[in-house]
């Protein structure tokens, strides 16, 4: 039974080590959002939050991306490109829907030019709610996605994995 103090640091270190080995490459795609979510995602790269220290790299090409971060309610014009980007990503691939619009269409649900959410067009692995979610929420969601990915040859210890999904344990 590890003390709370060490737990958070161990979790971060374990994820950091794992991420450095797998180094997930992330592609960001906006399907017609108001940019609120996108600027918070961009903010995670800037010094205050610094997602890159977790080994996450922002990529430009779908063919080299592991994770697709999607924002926006999916306008009809963006739909085709979204499908194409998803098709170009190699397996295994994961899609994260960020923000209320990406989850359900948000405030634009029912508008004539929107598809009402990413999962209406491609399969989604994780949802990060918010309007927009703050950078901490984006990082938290991304860490959970990474923790749920089992990379062969480098497993996260089960008690760490369980802890990653237990808010009380990570409170340290």
């Amino acid at each position: 039974m590890k003390s709370h103090q060490n737990f958070g640091q161990e979790l971060l270190k374990s994820l950091k080590d794992w991420a450095r080995v797998s180094s997930p490459w992330v592609l960001h795609f906006n399907t017609g959002s108001c940019n609120g979510c996108d600027i918070e995602i961009l903010a995670t790269l800037t010094p205050r939050y610094d997602l890159e220290r977790l080994g996450v790299k922002l990529q430009a090409s779908p063919r080299q991306a592991d994770i697709l971060l999607c924002t926006g309610p999916v306008t009809r014009q963006a739909r085709e490109r979204l499908v194409r980007i998803y098709a170009q990503m190699p397996e295994p691939k994961y899609v994260v829907a960020i923000g209320s619009c990406a989850i359900s269409g948000g405030v634009f649900r029912g508008c004539y030019n929107v598809m009402d959410g990413i999962d209406q067009v491609i399969p989604v692995s994780a949802y990060i709610p918010g309007c927009p979610p703050r950078p901490e929420a984006v990082i938290d969601g991304l860490v959970k996605v990474l923790a749920s990915i089992h990379s062969p040859g480098h497993k996260i210890p089960p008690e760490i994995l369980e802890g990653a999904l237990d808010p009380e344990k990570v409170a340290a």
Binding site: T75, R76, Q77, Y112, N113, M115
Partner: protein
């Protein structure tokens, strides 16, 4: 020019040459002009431009509905703190208006939007390409009309 001067000069412009216009002032800094003959629209706008009152801020379409059978198009000019609205009425069937893009370059994007959203043909506009609507949008469907039915779009 202060707002009173602007309104005076603008009123002078729209009433010159015996043009068929009707003016009113709903608010102290607003001049509303009903342009009854579409062929007078462009000369009136040229007149405003010549007097340096012709900063075109927006072109707004309003569908009055299938029962009324007509649509309003508002040309909103904003010199200083005054709003001059030129109001034209077009029929819903075969709606046509002269394009301003030869005299006002920024009118192009406003007119492209009017064209695709309301189905008003802008004569002299050199493109019918969509500005906002997607490529696979069905022909003859104008989303800002009151009788637009989203069911017509097959998702």
């Amino acid at each position: 020019m202060n707002s009173e001067e602007i309104i005076t000069v603008a009123t002078g412009v729209v009433k010159s040459w015996d043009w068929a216009t009707e003016t009113s002032q709903p608010l102290p800094k607003q001049l509303d002009v009903k342009v009854k003959l579409i062929k007078e629209l462009v000369p009136i706008i040229v007149g405003l431009r010549v007097k340096r009152l012709g900063y075109l801020a927006a072109i707004t379409g309003i569908d009055l509905g299938p029962e009324v059978g007509e649509m309003d198009v508002l040309y909103q000019f904003c010199p200083g703190d005054v709003v001059i609205t030129l109001r034209v009425r077009v029929p819903r069937q075969e709606a046509m208006l002269p394009s301003l893009c030869e005299i006002i370059p920024s009118a192009e994007v406003f007119e492209r939007e009017l064209q695709e959203m309301f189905g008003i043909q802008m004569l002299g506009l050199h493109t019918t390409e969509h500005l906002y609507l997607p490529d696979d949008w069905p022909d003859g469907v104008y989303p800002m009309r009151k009788d637009f039915d989203p069911q017509i779009l097959s998702h």
